[in-house]
């Protein structure tokens, strides 16, 4: 279990407990976080669950795969902390993870 803190572009904070093995995207979508379109539902196919990971946490996550890096080319205003939240799988080590949800996802 990891408590994940979602911060929306307008500053709204949502804290959600996410079970081990469940992605940050799935936890956020099921928990009602706005701004995660996540159209493909976690297949890594759409690049619409983009988040910015808090800099303090970037190195604590497993590095993105080459597929995810290819997908990150499609997101709206990416930076060095950009990740697809469907590719971040929760476990106890991620307790307290902070991610920022961008103001928009790039539509398909």
């Amino acid at each position: 279990m990891a408590l994940v803190i979602f911060v929306n572009a307008d500053g709204t904070k949502t804290e959600i407990d996410i079970e081990d093995g469940i992605s940050v995207m799935e936890g956020g979508v099921r928990g009602g976080v706005d701004g995660l379109d996540a159209d493909c539902g976690g297949q890594g196919a759409c690049a619409t669950c983009h988040v910015y990971v808090d800099p303090a946490w970037v190195d604590k996550l497993t590095a993105p795969s080459s597929d995810e890096k290819d997908m990150l080319d499609f997101v709206f205003e990416p930076d060095d902390t950009s990740r697809l939240s469907c590719q971040i799988v929760c476990n106890a080590a991620l307790d307290g993870l902070v991610v920022r949800v961008p103001s928009e996802q790039s539509g398909l």
Partner: protein, 432 residues
């Protein structure tokens, strides 16, 4: 003035003959065997009528989905992230493969296993490809690559129906008076009703309309189901005569319009919603008394009487059966060919029913309604036997469905309910 029936001449495209004056109703056996009739039924009935898809209780939460074949179409029935109900054709817009391959589950999206095309669970295409692979506006200019939606999806009392005809009348108008049956079975419990998990799927080597008739045939019960009634009286004690003496003798047939009809009466078996039998013991008697009391307070005494003590068999044209008898079954039946039916049956029960009561209900369901029970195998034998008998149609061409036709008020062991079905069938099939 009704023309006298001439059963010596065959008439192309006419299968149903009715002589109201003499009280005769005949159906050509060609309607049960002909490939041309089967194809016309697909075009004029299954592509035009409202067909049962499922019940809300099968999709309790947002993102729940199930897959189901309806009239030969593989479908996804689901709830999207906002909780809305959807019916999609279960085929990838890319090359056609089945997109959702599980019977049921909970998913935010669907991914085709063939090339990996992915979709939001609201049907929206959700697959990113490298730039230049597809046009920039791919899928946006009348070339949709979203999952295709079934043209119509509407519900009444948590029963969801689809229609492949975008121009069909509303479900509400279509169901007409038959909504009474959906109301009655939905009102069995103050906590709502649910489809019990699991389904009975089986096939019969007979024409589907034989099972339509059989599903609300009060006339055949004693003759065909002797095994069941012998077992039943062994189990509940007493004799058929004693059981008959206790009954009120209510016996009704309801013509609900648009080909929907039901029969209603009173049978010797116990009803878990309000008719006790000695086999359930003193505790069972108390349980049933409490259920009846709650019903009376909630729906009033007359309706409580119908719900607790009335056994009813209903057919919603063309092929949804709801039998509210010793248990409740929801049954659909589809022709695979003129000579084969696929049947699906679900048990329907109060939400939160205590285990002891649920056990009685499901025992009842298996004993009589289930394909391995004491009754359905007898029906299957009768239907398959009739289908074999139709091999003689050239020399014995007519079925008789005249029973009770001259009565002012047909009874539940007459055949008026079948005539309601056949009149609607003929209206659709025999039109120019």
């Amino acid at each position: 003035m009704v023309e006298q029936m001439d059963l010596t001449k065959s008439q192309e495209g006419k299968w149903v003959r009715e002589d109201k004056k003499r009280g005769l109703f005949k159906v050509s056996r060609d309607a049960f065997t002909s490939q041309a009739v089967f194809e016309r039924e697909n075009e004029r009935i299954f592509n035009k009528c409202w067909l049962y898809l499922g019940h809300s209780s099968e999709l309790e939460n947002p993102n729940d989905f199930l897959t189901r074949n309806v009239a030969g179409h593989e479908l996804i029935f689901n709830r999207d992230r906002k909780g809305g109900f959807n019916a999609f054709f279960n085929t990838c817009p890319h090359r056609g493969a089945i997109v959702a391959r599980e019977e049921c589950g909970n998913a935010l999206g669907f991914k085709c296993f063939y090339h990996g095309w992915s979709f939001n669970n609201n049907g929206k295409y959700a697959t990113r490809s490298p730039k230049g692979v597809y046009p920039e506006d791919f899928g946006k200019e009348g070339d949709s690559v979203d999952l295709s939606r079934v043209p119509r999806l509407e519900q009444y009392r948590d029963f969801h129906f689809i229609n492949f005809d975008a121009d069909a009348i509303s479900l509400d108008d279509y169901l007409a008076g038959s909504k009474e049956i959906l109301d009655i079975v939905s009102d069995h419990s103050p906590d709502g009703m649910e489809v019990v998990s699991g389904v009975q799927n089986y096939s019969i080597r007979a024409n589907w309309k034989l099972l339509v008739e059989n599903s609300f045939d009060g006339y055949h019960a004693a003759e065909t189901h002797d095994t069941y009634f012998t077992y039943l009286f062994d189990a509940i004690g007493g004799t058929p005569e004693e059981a008959m003496a206790k009954m009120t003798g209510q016996s009704n047939c309801y013509d609900y319009g648009n080909g929907h009809a039901a029969i209603e009466g009173e049978a010797p078996w116990g009803r878990p919603v309000g008719r006790h039998i000695p086999a359930w013991g003193d505790k069972g008697k108390e349980d049933i008394a409490a259920i009846v009391k709650e019903l009376e307070e909630r729906v009033g005494v007359p309706m409580a009487k119908r719900i607790s003590n009335g056994d009813r068999n209903a057919v919603f044209f063309p092929n949804l059966v709801i039998n509210d008898i010793m248990a409740i079954t929801i049954r659909t039946l589809y022709p695979v060919s003129p000579n084969e039916i696929h049947v699906s049956s679900w048990a329907f029960a109060p939400k939160g029913e205590p285990p002891e009561l649920r056990k009685r209900r499901l025992d009842n369901f298996l004993e009589f309604l289930g394909p391995g029970g004491f009754a359905t195998p007898d029906d299957v034998e009768a239907l398959e036997s009739a289908q074999v008998g139709y091999g003689n149609a050239q020399f014995a061409p007519w079925n008789d469905i005249s029973r009770g036709m001259l009565k002012e008020k047909p009874a539940n062991d007459d055949e008026e309910q079948m005539r309601c079905f056949w009149r609607e069938w003929a209206r659709r099939m025999e039109a120019e």
